[in-house]
Amino acid sequence: MPISAATAWGQSPDGRPLHRWTLRSAHGAQVDLSDLGGTLLSWQAPDRHGRVGEVVLGHADAAQYLASDAYMGSIVGRWANRIRSGRFTLDGVDYKVDRNDHGNHLHGGVNGFHLQRWEVEPEGETLVLRLVSPEGDGGFPGEVRVELRVRLDDDGTLDLRYAATTDAPTPLSLTAHPYFNLSDRRPDIRDHVIRIDADEFLAIDAGAIPIGRQAVAGSAFDFREAAPIGSRLHWPDPQLRLVGGFDHCYVARPGPVDTPRTVAVVTEPLSGRRLTIDTDRPGLQFYSGQKLTGQPARRGDAYGPFAGFALEAQAFPNQMNTTEAEGAILRPGQVWRQHTRYRIDTV
């Protein structure tokens, strides 16, 4: 359905007005996006009875988003996830980027894409978001131009197509960072049942930096058959104890090039809602939301631990400092693309 006109939604620190846009599907779903960080402010989706309810976490207003450290619903860049010590070498040059997570770089740094004001323009049923990230943004080289095309299809799919170019070589990995809770009754996702189509995940060190691929078979990380999130948290696994739950990147099974394949399916038993994620990215970060405690919620209240979970389609964390570094670099003349779909239906 056509996108409604923008409504005013607070202002940025430099006094410029911020806005929100609403996308609607024929079956009653509704998605709200902001130009601040390309943020997914709200997603209302029908349950098995057709009753519409909120399925993503959110703060109360623009001021809270600007003050937040949760990347709540935002587009994350220039580098989604972590880079060890905020350092990498590209074409023989050493770079130091923002270190904002215990000495490591996380999610684009202190003024990442999630805090920037994107230019937004409806094009028929598609919302087009554009951002220019200047040379030196967060410490990264090159001026990067990003275009994100978002549409809500009538089958309940939120379709995200990213494209980016640069004028100098730079690491690039973008992701959307919504926290889902498919139940609009219970502020805890531990009864959600998750399936992740990955045979391996990246084991991490105490700083949450990957140290190597590990088979999921025989471990708490094996979600190739669907299982409740909550009971897995009680398996005796040192990888879970390191970060108090899941905050690990899965190595999605390879699919056809540049074509999204299903990487994860999550269902919520009571509402019957089912979230399916398709992406063409190699990595899928699964965060079970254990550290959401105290994050401001929409109605002046605060979220508790495990209030929502995130599934972030992206490159591998710290990929710049691995043998796969070249796969994470965008060079002038190339167009970086990503296609990710979130579909919510019911079972």
Binding site: R190, R195, E225, P228, P236, G255, R261, L270
Partner: protein
């Protein structure tokens, strides 16, 4: 190294135990761990001989009251599987315990009934027995929930089922159901118990779900097969319990101490069927008629028979249907037949000709004609659409 010899002590004659064992099997297949599994050939567990077992580990059903005593001085790793307890002191000491979370099973059934718009609730349990402490835990969970939320909630344990006492037990159940205020939502402690409720409702002429909405626990295909009105049921995470038990035993065989590990597994879903699809209907005539159509709609009934059952004239019944459901009685019967056919096409491999007959269409050709008129496709195309949708979601599922 020769494979570890592991005993699985379960009475695997129920769907729950079989799913736990399936979960153990999945774990072994996914890890290529080789265990030499010992089970009694009739799938019953006999604790008395276990001390003669020359093996390396045991996974046992601790709902069986004998298990705890029989296994307490065994000097090999034991993993306990059973129901959760509200009182932590009820868990056996010194062994890892994998539990189905009784509170969350009942909570899911209750929340589902709340979502149907019901505000009165009852629980149908089983009489207290040492082997069914889990049933008492579910009953207790129900009372705790209705207590917390200050809503009406009554509990009925009924009688144990025996062939001899069956007639009296049904009469007593009908009397209990009849006396309950309506409408009401009833949680049955198992699907076997839910089936008895459905049967008593049919005998007592009580409309399901309009007067009594029913939710069972287990999602047992057998119970589904033996009920005329499809049963809504909570699906336990039994396979995940089996995977978890196998994982813990696997760790213990490598020397990891799991003796204080306790894992409560929540339900993994609820299979929503007609028995709980409560829609408040104003007209008692429409309510009774809908109840009759759900039971006999596929047996070739006509509007006259529905009117006879309700005890009003055809004209009066048609007026009520038009007002309440915006359709004729005939359309309601046809809709029921179509819904049943769609369900069978999606869920079974039965030939279409059989489905046509089972759903009360006079012939396969007639079913084709009705599909063409109502859905603008053939039953086969309907099936293909359904399978494509399923295949799309099942993609990449196999390792």
């Amino acid at each position: 190294m020769s494979p570890h010899r592991i005993a699985l002590l379960f009475n695997a004659n129920k769907v729950y135990d079989r799913q736990v064992i399936a979960g153990i099997g999945h774990y072994l297949n996914s890890t290529r761990v080789e265990w030499d599994l010992f089970m009694e050939e009739d799938f019953r567990s006999r604790m008395r001989d276990i001390h003669h077992f020359k093996g390396d580990g045991v996974i046992a059903d601790f709902d069986d009251p004998e298990a705890q005593a029989a296994l307490s001085d065994l000097h090999i790793p034991v993993v306990a599987v059973g129901g959760s307890y509200h009182d932590p002191s009820h868990y056996p000491a010194g062994v890892p315990y994998i539990a189905t979370d009784n509170t969350r099973l009942v909570r899911l059934a209750y929340d589902h009934l709340i979502e149907q718009g019901l505000s009165r609730f009852a629980f149908f349990g089983i009489p207290s027995h040492p082997g069914s402490r889990w049933a008492q835990e579910r009953e207790r969970a129900f009372l705790a929930i209705v207590g917390q939320e200050s809503v009406e909630g009554v509990v009925h344990e009924g009688h144990s089922t025996t062939a001899g006492g069956w007639g009296a037990a049904v009469e007593e159940l009908v009397a209990w159901l009849t006396a309950l205020p309506k409408p009401i939502g009833i949680i049955a402690v198992t699907d076997a118990r839910a089936r008895q409720l459905l049967q008593a409702c049919v005998i007592g002429g009580i409309a399901v779900p309009e007067q009594v909405a029913i939710v069972g626990i287990d999602n047992d295909p057998m119970a589904q097969l033996l009920t005329r009105i499809p049963l809504t049921s909570v699906i336990q995470g039994a396979e995940e319990m089996g995977r978890t038990a196998a994982h813990l035993l696997h760790q213990m065989l490598r020397g990891v101490d799991c003796s204080t590990t306790r894992v409560l597994v929540p339900p993994v879903g609820i299979n929503v069927q007609a028995s709980s699809r409560y829609q408040p209907l104003r007209s008692p005539h429409v309510m009774r008629a809908s109840h009759y159509i759900r039971q006999y709609g596929c047996l070739g009934i006509k509007t006259e028979q529905v009117a006879d059952y309700v005890g009003v004239s055809r004209t009066v019944l048609e007026e009520h249907f038009k007002r309440e459901l915006k359709q004729t009685v005939h359309q309601a019967i046809l809709q029921h037949k179509l819904d049943t056919a769609c369900q069978l096409i999606a869920d079974s491999d039965a030939p279409l000709a059989d489905i046509a007959v089972r759903c009360g269409f006079t012939s396969l050709q007639y079913m084709y004609a009705v599909f063409r008129r109502e859905y603008d496709c053939t039953p086969r195309q309907y099936l293909d659409r359904h399978r494509t949708a399923d295949a799309a979601t099942a993609e990449h599922r196999d390792p």
